[in-house]
Symmetry: C2
Subunit: 200 residues, 2 copies
DNA sequence: ATGAAACGTGAATCAATGTTCATATTATGT
DNA sequence: ACATAATATGAACATTGATTCACGTTTCAT
């Protein structure tokens, strides 16, 4: 679980950060396999061997970034939801959508990194989504107990929601490089709330 | 657009098929980069150089498979829908869901192949989904004109639906290696129709 | 039947790249 | 200030794996 050897000095911290920033940028742009260690260290402004002071190998750099990004995203969503603890499930979901998309706008390489992971480390890939799913499920169950949400299978619903957000983000941030406006968030919330059919 | 040099004899056709089958299996299991030309030809029972009779390089094998699979999937869905031309949009969607999941069960490497493509050929990756999206949009617009479906943005809705199906398939066929039963299809249709909220 | 085109071969080539390591420099606690 | 640990270096190494190619074999139209 510890892909990285943490530095013990200020200088080391800065160096590690430079390496991680460079790696994120390059993995994001070119993917895991097309990114060379030499490129990462060059962009970071350090020598090739320096990377191996902190990471045992290339794959660990990748897995560390994935871990880190998933962690930060979950934390951001958790904090935003805590700020509005009494909101209904659908209101909490609106909050999560906003945080998710604003996070992804800044780190849109997250997707690309995560989806490439299925070939770098299939277990890590699965864990990434299962961890998100677990968090969702407990909220869904709560909302079902309170009578807000209908009795759909929570596991299924968690993957439905992750799928929606992932693909909408793919369209906006990867394919179109466009912004995701408030109207889109509104439509997402409406779809999740009431589906596609016109209410009679 | 032509990644493959088509054979002109019966023997050639068989050889190409053997190569494609082997490649699909290996790309599916191990991904693009971890699959060696040598492995593909060995599994196909031909010499290394034979692959280069049909493909200019490794990437072309990959892109050809992706093209082919996407083509077959769209065709399968199209045919299934045509068999029930008068059905409502939501009934047509139920049909598409069934066909999609049964296709994916057989070729579940499709996902993995397609998602890896974003690093092999970003344009091909985008085209893959945009082509599906286009098909959806015309149906959505029709269903909106007939008053069946509410006025959500068709582009957004097409990506929402693709996201749902992709992630549910990911969960079932890649993570759990479980079947996808009729009840799940029913819940998907219900969610797409009416969303998560309890109707009052 | 026959020759030209199509197909098949697999060892050799050659470029690419992750990783190591002996050595140098810098930081930190006492 | 000194010793020790931590950090940094980058040329050299070792491996890997896609691609080539000169030479056989098979197919098929005439």
């Amino acid at each position: 679980m510890d892909y990285v050897k943490l530095p013990k000095t200020k200088r080391g911290e800065q160096t590690l950060k430079k390496i991680c920033d460079a790696a994120e940028e390059l993995f994001t742009k070119n993917g895991y396999y097309a990114t060379e260690i030499h490129e990462i260290t060059q962009k970071a402004g350090v020598a090739t061997g320096t990377l191996y002071v902190y990471f045992p190998d290339k794959m660990s750099v990748f897995l560390h970034l994935m871990d880190d990004l998933g962690h930060k995203l979950r934390k951001a969503i958790r904090l935003a939801k805590l700020a509005e603890p009494s909101a209904s499930m659908i209101e909490q979901e609106r909050i999560a959508i906003r945080v998710f998309f604003s996070f992804v706008r800044e780190h849109f390489g997250l997707f690309r990194i995560v989806w490439q992971a299925q070939f770098v480390d299939a277990e890590a890939f699965k864990n990434y989504y299962e961890r998100f799913s677990k968090g969702y499920i407990s909220e869904i169950v709560k909302a079902q107990e309170s009578g807000e949400v209908r009795g759909l299978d929570p596991v299924l619903l968690s993957y439905i929601l992750m799928g929606i957000y992932s693909f909408v983000a793919l369209k906006h941030f990867v394919f179109d490089e466009s912004e995701l406006d408030e109207d889109t968030v509104e439509q997402l919330v409406e779809f999740i709330s009431h589906g596609v059919l016109k209410t009679i």
